[in-house]
């Protein structure tokens, strides 16, 4: 299907129905992608993007998970924090980058902060939902057998909410990719997002398509990895 569409695209450009100025032929994009891969451009910038994303994802989802558990188990905490989260979550995280840069400077830390924030909210909301919906009977079983708070977290809360938490992690991952690329477009000189912007500034359309392809592949590969991980971590059905 995809190959067919690419072939059609190639033909339409070759016979002159599509302008290569807007739609460079897939073969040319592929060649360009290969060149930029071999000369180290994509590996170098890809590594930068991945490490920003990975760091933000790790910090954001960890804090999101912890806070989600805390809110899921404490009604007073939910009452206090729910409206605040409701107000902050819908703000596009990229829109607060300038504000964060005022506090943290224009270096790496403000970028990482915004990426972590993007991963934080979906993880928090999924964890909260997962924890709230744990059937009370599981807590009762644990209580009658004398579980302490740590055993309760490890043996009941974590596994019982895990399917929902992993769903949240997947959304957080996508959110982290979006925000990493966006942050790189507006304020970085390294990373795949910055390449997208440079390609535009130099009107290098082939490179633009090639870089977007790399980003898409990155998204597919990481999402696939998370899905595989989910199946491994959740071998049960409820």
């Amino acid at each position: 299907m995809i190959l067919g569409a690419l072939a059609l695209w190639e033909i339409l450009v070759r016979i002159g129905l599509l302008s290569p100025l807007y739609f460079p032929p897939p073969t040319a994009v592929g060649r360009r992608l290969w060149e930029l891969f071999v000369d180290g451009t994509y590996p170098d910038h890809g590594r930068v993007t991945l490490s920003r994303m990975g760091f933000g994802l790790l910090v954001g989802t960890s804090l999101g998970f912890l806070m989600g558990v805390a809110m899921g188990r404490s009604a007073p905490l939910r009452r206090i924090l729910d409206p605040i989260i409701g107000a902050l979550y819908p703000i596009p995280k990229i829109a607060i980058l300038p504000l964060i840069m005022i506090f943290l400077g224009i270096g790496e830390s403000s970028k990482l902060f915004v990426i972590a924030l993007g991963a934080f909210f979906p993880m928090l909301i999924s964890t909260l939902t997962g924890v709230i919906h744990i059937p009370s009977i599981y807590f009762e079983v644990a209580a009658t057998y004398g579980s302490g708070p740590l055993a309760l977290l490890r043996r009941v809360i974590l596994p019982a909410s895990l399917p929902t938490v992993l769903g949240g992690f997947r959304i957080a991952l996508n959110s982290a990719i979006h925000i990493t690329i966006a942050v790189e477009i507006v304020s970085a000189v390294t990373g795949l997002g910055s390449l997208v912007w440079f390609s535009w500034e130099t009107l290098d359309v082939e490179k633009l398509y090639a870089t977007l392809t790399v980003i898409a592949v990155l998204g597919v590969v990481t999402t696939h990895g998370v899905n595989r991980l989910s199946q491994k971590l959740v071998p049960w059905r409820t």
Binding site: E140, A142, A143, T144, Y145, G146, R155, A160, W236, T238
Partner: protein, 259 residues
């Protein structure tokens, strides 16, 4: 002797239309190695009573005293639930070993003890499966195994066979009688099934509809060990109809069937 006394226990909970008395003035004592059956119409507060005994809820009136009670350290109670009481994320052996794990027993020892019990009841081939691979009846056996393996002196069973078909129920009643015969504990068995209450219990407490009260306490004159056919004797049939007359009114009211 391990036991407890309920002294005028009441439980009231608030709803948006005011408060409801789930239990009122419930007094009875249990001790030693007996099985006390509690039978009553649905919604009579049987489960509430069991949760009070388990310590999940606290009475709003009266008190439950346990013995021995050494500075608040009461005999441990294992609760067996009607359904969904086993953890879907743990394998069968880890479910059975859960009580021991919470008591701080190391992994190797608790698994060995759980496996020994599973062998005894013929579930060893399912030790490493997850509950969703088991039938409902097998899951209930896992829940019961967990309660026995934890080796708590008091067993609280909340309609453990309520969701099972009649044949499965008979087999599991027989199995429970067999296990209990070997490891006698104090057990409170909640059920809405009159015959089950008689078959298992040394005494049957008959409860009324809401607010739940104890209408009568009936001793069951059957020797142990008991077999499934035990309740077929004429004097037991009499008890059965006696209990039924207590419950009939409430059952009719709930179904709007006139007397």
């Amino acid at each position: 002797m391990t036991g407890f006394v309920c002294e005028s226990v009441g439980f009231r909970y608030a709803t948006k239309d005011g408060s409801i008395d789930a239990l009122q003035d419930v007094s009875f004592a249990a001790g030693g190695h007996e099985i006390v059956s509690v039978v009553g119409p649905s919604g009579c507060g049987k489960t509430t009573l069991l949760k009070l005994l388990a310590g999940i809820l606290d009475p709003t009136a009266g008190a439950i005293r346990f013995s021995p009670d050494l500075n608040g350290s009461r005999p441990k109670r294992a609760l067996v639930f009607q359904d969904h009481g086993v953890f879907p994320w743990l394998t069968v052996v880890d479910n059975v070993a859960f009580g021991l794990e919470m008591q701080g027993v190391g992994a190797a020892e608790r698994r060995a003890r759980a496996r020994r019990f599973l062998e005894r009841v013929g579930l060893e081939d399912f030790a490493d499966r997850h509950p969703h691979e088991l039938s409902v009846g097998m899951r209930q056996r896992v829940g019961i195994a967990r309660a026995f393996v934890s080796d708590f002196p008091i067993l609280l069973l909340d309609e453990p066979f309520g969701a099972l078909d009649a044949q499965t129920r008979l087999l599991l009643q027989e199995e429970l009688l067999g296990i209990w015969q070997g490891e006698r504990k104090l057990a409170v068995f909640i059920t809405h099934d009159i015959e089950e209450a008689i078959l298992l219990g040394d005494r049957v407490l008959v409860m009324s509809g809401r607010p739940g009260k104890i209408l009568e306490e009936i001793p069951v004159p059957l020797p142990r060990p008991r077999a499934l056919a035990a309740p077929d004797r004429p004097e037991v049939t009499e008890i059965k109809w006696h209990i039924w007359h207590h419950l009939e009114k409430e059952a009719r009211r709930q179904l709007s069937i006139p007397d």
